[in-house]
C-alpha cells in the first residue's frame, strides 16, 4: 500500500509541473494585463507596477523564480489585492469551499445513494422511474438555475432559509450545499442504481437469503458494499470537480470561498492568483483521486491483498 501511495505521489509531481507551465505561459499569452483600467495608466506608473511585480524581467526568469518560490510554498503576492498573498487568500477561502464541498457531497451521497438503491430494488417500475427521473433533473439542472430557484422558493417566498451568506445566520449553509450537490446526487443515483443492479443479480445474495436473512439485511449488509463500489471510485474526482465548480454557487450565495477567486483572477489577469489557484486545485484533484483510489483498494479485499 505504501509503495502504491508513494508511487502515485511521485507521479503527481510532473502533473503539477505541467499544469504550472501550461498555465504560466497561457496566461501570459492572454491579451490585457493586470494593470489595465478604465482610466489610462501613465507609462511611468505602468513601469513602476511591472517592476514591483517583477514583470519587467525576462519571462523565463520569471518562470523559474516562480518555481523557486513555489518550492518554498510561496505563491507570491496577488495583483488584485495589494498587501495580501495568494497563500493567505487560499488559506482563508479553502476551509469554506471545502466545507461547502463536503456538505454538498454528503447531500449528494445521501440523496443519490438512497434514490439509486430504491430504484434498483424494483427496476422498470414507478419506484425506479420516479427517483431516476429526479436524478435526471438533477443532472440537467444547471446550478445557476437551481440556486436562484431555491432562493426564491425557500428564501423569499417561504422565508425559511437565508438567501445568502455562509455561517453568519443559522441555516445559510443548506441552500448552497443542495445547489452544489444536486448534480452529483444525480450522477451518484445513476451509479449506485447500476452498481446495485449488477450486484443484485449476484449469487451471493441468494446465499444470504438462503441463510434466512431478512431482506433489509441482505440489501444493506451484503449488496450495498459491492453495489456502491462505483460510487466510491467516483467520489474522489467528484469532490475535486465540486471544488472547481463551486464558483457559481459561491457567487450566487455570496460565499467567501476559494471558487470565486478562480474566475475573478482569470478575468483580472491576476497572474499569481491564477497560478496559485490552478496549482492548488490540481494538487487537490491529484490528492482526491489518490484518496479515492486508496479507498477503493481498501474496500475491495482482493485489491487490498494484491497491494500488500
Amino acid at each position: 500500500m505504501w509503495r502504491f501511495t508513494v508511487l502515485r505521489v511521485l507521479q503527481a509531481i510532473p502533473v503539477i509541473l505541467t499544469v504550472i507551465t501550461l498555465t504560466f505561459f497561457l496566461i501570459r499569452a492572454a491579451p490585457g494585463g493586470p494593470f489595465s483600467s478604465e482610466k489610462a495608466v501613465s507609462p511611468q506608473v505602468q513601469a513602476a507596477l511591472e517592476a514591483r511585480y517583477r514583470l519587467d524581467q525576462p519571462i523565463l526568469q520569471q518562470y523559474f523564480s516562480y518555481l523557486a518560490d513555489l518550492a518554498h510554498g510561496d505563491l507570491g503576492p496577488t495583483f488584485r489585492y495589494p498587501g495580501r498573498t495568494v497563500d493567505e487568500l487560499i488559506v482563508d477561502g479553502l476551509p469554506i469551499t471545502a466545507e461547502l464541498g463536503f456538505y454538498a457531497l454528503m447531500i449528494a451521497l445521501v440523496l443519490g445513494v438512497t434514490a439509486g438503491v430504491v430504484a434498483s430494488l424494483k427496476p422498470n417500475t414507478l419506484q425506479d422511474y420516479v427517483p431516476m427521473g429526479a436524478a435526471m433533473v438533477g443532472i440537467c439542472m444547471p446550478s445557476f438555475l437551481l440556486g436562484p430557484l431555491l432562493v426564491l422558493v425557500f428564501g423569499i417566498w417561504l422565508q425559511w432559509l437565508p438567501v445568502s451568506g455562509w455561517g453568519s445566520t443559522p441555516g445559510d449553509k443548506l441552500l448552497p450545499s443542495i445547489t452544489l450537490g444536486a448534480m452529483y446526487a444525480g450522477y451518484i443515483a445513476r451509479l449506485s442504481r447500476a452498481g446495485m443492479l449488477e450486484v443484485l443479480s449476484q449469487d451471493y445474495l441468494r446465499t444470504a437469503r438462503a441463510k434466512g436473512l431478512p431482506e433489509y439485511v441482505v440489501i444493506l449488509k451484503h449488496a450495498l458494499r459491492g453495489g456502491l463500489f462505483p460510487v466510491v471510485s467516483y467520489l474522489g474526482p467528484a469532490f475535486a470537480y465540486l471544488l472547481s465548480g463551486s464558483f457559481v454557487v459561491e457567487t450566487i450565495f455570496q460565499i467567501p470561498g476559494l471558487g470565486r477567486f478562480y474566475i475573478q483572477a482569470a478575468f483580472n489577469r491576476d497572474y499569481t492568483m491564477i497560478l496559485g489557484t490552478t496549482v492548488f486545485l490540481a494538487t487537490l484533484i491529484v490528492v482526491f483521486n489518490l484518496l479515492s483510489d486508496i479507498a477503493a483498494t481498501w474496500l475491495n479485499p482482493r485489491l487490498r491483498y494484491q497491494y500488500k
Binding site: T207, A210, K211, G212, H222, G226, P301, Y305, Q306
Partner: protein, 535 residues
C-alpha cells in the same frame, strides 16, 4: 415420517410471452440420513423445484400454483416470508453450485459463517465465532481459526466449496439442498467433496436433496433418484433400480449419453503434423511477483488424422499449451513445428495464412461467440478473411457449414443468445471448420454442456474429424470423455507432462501415481461396474 414430503408441487412463471410451467406437479419424499438425487438437464426445473420450497425463486414472475410441502409438520408453501426466513438456514440450507459466486467477495468467511448463528440462535458474536471455527474444521479446513479472517478469493475452488458447505451446516439444519455442488470442481476434488458430504450426512443424520445433471456423480451417492424432464419427474425410484432397469425412454437416453467405452484405435502409420520440443510458456506475476511457468518444458507430437487427448486438472497448464501451439499465447522458448514450419518466431502477418490451417474450439460457447454477430456473420467472417469463398458463393458456403454442423438453415440470422449451449457450440465448431483447417485445438468443448448434448457434440466432432481428415488436440478434465474420443492421451500436471500413451494403455495400466489417482477419482463407479457387467 419423512423429513420432507412434497406433493404435487407446481411452479409457473408468468412472463410477458405467457405462462411457463417450470415445475409441473412433482412429488417426492426425503428421509433423514438419506440422499435424494434429482437428475435433469439444464432447464428441466430441478433447481426451481427446490428453491421454491424455501421461497427463493423470484416472485413475480414465478408463482407457486399448487402443492404441499410438509417439513417439520408445517406446509412450507403456505408460510409467510417471515416464517420462511426462520426455516431457511436453520431447518433447510442450501449448498450452491458455484462457490466462486455464492460467497460475498467483500466479507470475510467468518463474518459470513456466523450470520445464520447470530440470526437464528441469537448467539453472541464470540460463541458464533467459536462455532464457525468448529464447523470449518469439521469440513476439513486447516488453520480454521486464522482462515475465518480470510476472504473468499484467498481460497482455492475446492476449499471454497468446503466453506460453502460449512456455511450450510453451521446452523445444523435437518435438510440440505445441494445444487450441483461439485460441477465446478476437478475430479479429484469432486471425489473429496462428495466423500465429505456423505460423511457429514451420516454423522449428523441429515437429509440431502442432491441436484445434478451428472449421472455418474449421482450414481455414487444417491439413495433414491428422481429423473426430471420439462418440469416433471419421468421416473423415480431406488438408485440401482433406475440404473439397472430404467423404465422411461428419457432415463435410458441419459444413461446412454454417459460417455462410455474407448475409441477403437485406428491403425495408420503415424505421420507427425505438429512437433513440439521443449516448450516453455510463462506468465509474469503481478507487480514483479514470480513468473508462473504454465508450460514447463513440454515435448510432444501430434500426428495427422489423430485425436490427441490432453488431460489434467485445472491449473495444470493444458489450456496454455493448447493456446501456445496456436500462438494465441507467445511461448518464451522451445519449438513448435507445424507441417515442417517453425511457428514460434513468426510475425502476425506470417502467421495469418497458417491460421487458416489451424483453428480452435473453445470451452464456453457463451463467451466464445460475439454476442452482437449473427450466425451468418460469425460463419462468414473467416471465409471472407481467408478468401475461402467470394461474396457470391458466401451464402451457399455458410449454409453448407450450417448443414455440416447440424444447424437449421432458418437460424442463419439469429444471434448467439437465442441458441442453446449445444447449438452454440455447433456454431463455434462451424466457424472453426469453415476454413477447412488441418488441425484443431478443442479446449474442453463439451464440459459446459448437458450430458445428452455432450454426447451429440462428441459424435459430431468424431464425424467431422473423419470427414475432413482433421487432426485434433482435445483438451479435457473429463477422463471419460477423453477415453471416448481420443486415440492417444497425454496427462499434464503443473506444466509438465506426466504420462502419455494410447488410450487403451492409459486406462488399463497407468504407470504414474498421478494418473492412477485421476482414474480412481472418476465418479460413477457404479455405472462402470454396470457397463462392464454383461447385460
Amino acid at each position: 415420517m419423512a423429513l420432507l414430503d412434497v406433493t404435487d408441487l407446481k411452479v409457473h412463471f408468468h412472463t410477458r410471452n405467457g405462462v411457463v410451467p417450470a415445475v409441473d406437479g412433482i412429488s417426492f419424499r426425503v428421509e433423514a440420513g438419506k440422499t435424494l438425487a434429482i437428475i435433469g438437464e439444464s432447464g428441466s426445473g430441478k433447481s426451481i423445484a427446490c428453491y421454491s420450497l424455501v421461497g427463493l425463486i423470484p416472485k413475480p414472475p414465478g408463482r407457486i400454483e399448487d402443492g404441499c410441502a410438509l417439513f417439520e409438520g408445517q406446509d412450507l408453501l403456505t408460510l409467510s416470508e417471515a416464517q420462511l426466513r426462520k426455516v431457511r438456514g436453520k431447518g433447510i440450507s442450501i449448498i450452491f453450485q458455484d462457490p466462486m459466486t455464492s460467497l460475498n467477495p467483500y466479507m470475510t468467511i467468518g463474518e459470513q459463517l456466523i450470520e445464520p448463528l447470530q440470526l437464528h440462535f441469537s448467539m453472541s458474536r464470540r460463541d458464533a465465532w467459536q462455532k464457525g471455527i468448529q464447523t470449518l474444521e469439521e469440513v476439513g479446513i486447516q488453520n480454521a481459526e486464522r482462515r475465518m479472517h480470510a476472504y473468499p478469493f484467498e481460497f482455492s475452488g475446492g476449499m471454497r466449496q468446503r466453506v460453502v458447505i460449512a456455511m450450510a451446516l453451521v446452523a445444523e439444519p435437518q435438510l440440505i439442498i445441494a445444487d450441483e455442488p461439485t460441477t465446478a470442481l476437478d475430479v479429484t476434488v469432486q471425489a473429496q467433496i462428495l466423500k465429505l458430504l456423505r460423511d457429514l450426512q451420516q454423522r449428523r443424520n441429515i437429509g440431502v436433496i442432491f441436484i445434478s445433471h451428472d449421472l455418474s456423480v449421482v450414481a455414487d451417492i444417491a439413495d433414491n433418484i428422481c429423473v426430471m424432464q420439462d418440469g416433471r419427474f419421468v421416473e423415480q425410484g431406488e438408485r440401482m433400480a433406475i440404473f439397472q432397469t430404467p423404465q422411461h425412454e428419457y432415463t435410458r437416453k441419459l444413461l446412454a449419453a454417459v460417455p462410455a467405452g474407448a475409441k477403437r484405435p485406428v491403425s495408420h502409420s503415424p505421420e507427425p503434423l505438429i512437433t513440439i520440443t521443449d516448450l516453455y510458456t510463462q506468465f509474469y506475476g503481478n507487480r514483479g511477483g514470480p513468473a508462473v511457468k504454465a508450460v514447463d518444458g513440454i515435448s510432444l507430437q501430434i500426428n495427422r488424422h489423430e485425436i490427441l487427448g490432453l488431460v489434467g486438472e485445472s491449473g495444470s497448464g493444458k489450456s496454455t499449451l493448447g493456446r501456445s501451439i496456436l500462438r494465441l499465447l507467445q511461448p518464451c522458448s522451445g519449438s513448435i513445428r507445424f507441417d515442417g514450419r517453425e511457428l514460434v518466431h513468426l510475425s502476425a502477418a506470417e502467421l495469418k495464412p497458417l491460421r487458416r490451417r489451424m483453428q480452435m474450439i473453445f470451452q464456453d460457447p457463451y463467451s466464445s461467440l460475439n454476442p452482437r454477430m449473427t450466425v451468418y456473420d460469425t460463419l462468414a467472417e473467416p471465409l471472407l478473411l481467408h478468401g475461402v469463398v467470394d461474396r457470391k458463393g458466401l451464402d451457399t458456403a455458410v449454409f453448407e457449414l450450417m448443414d455440416a454442423v447440424g444447424l437449421a438453415r432458418a437460424n442463419v440470422l439469429r444471434y448467439p443468445h437465442e441458441f442453446s449451449g449445444g447449438q452454440r457450440q455447433r456454431i463455434a465448431i462451424g466457424r472453426a471448420i469453415g476454413t477447412k483447417p488441418e488441425f484443431i485445438v478443442a479446449d474442453e468443448p463439451v464440459s459446459a454442456l448437458d450430458v445428452t448434448i455432450q454426447a451429440q457434440i462428441l459424435d459430431l466432432l468424431l464425424d467431422l474429424v473423419a470427414r475432413f481428415n482433421l487432426s485434433m488436440l482435445f483438451i479435457s478434465h473429463d477422463l471419460a470423455v477423453v477415453r471416448y474420443l481420443a486415440d492417444r492421451i497425454v496427462v499434464m500436471k503443473a506444466g509438465k507432462l506426466v504420462e502419455s500413451g494410447t488410450t487403451h494403455d492409459m486406462f488399463t495400466s497407468p504407470q504414474q501415481p498421478y494418473t492412477q489417482a485421476l482414474l480412481a477419482a472418476i465418479p460413477g463407479r457404479v455405472l462402470r461396474d454396470l457397463d462392464d457387467s454383461p447385460l
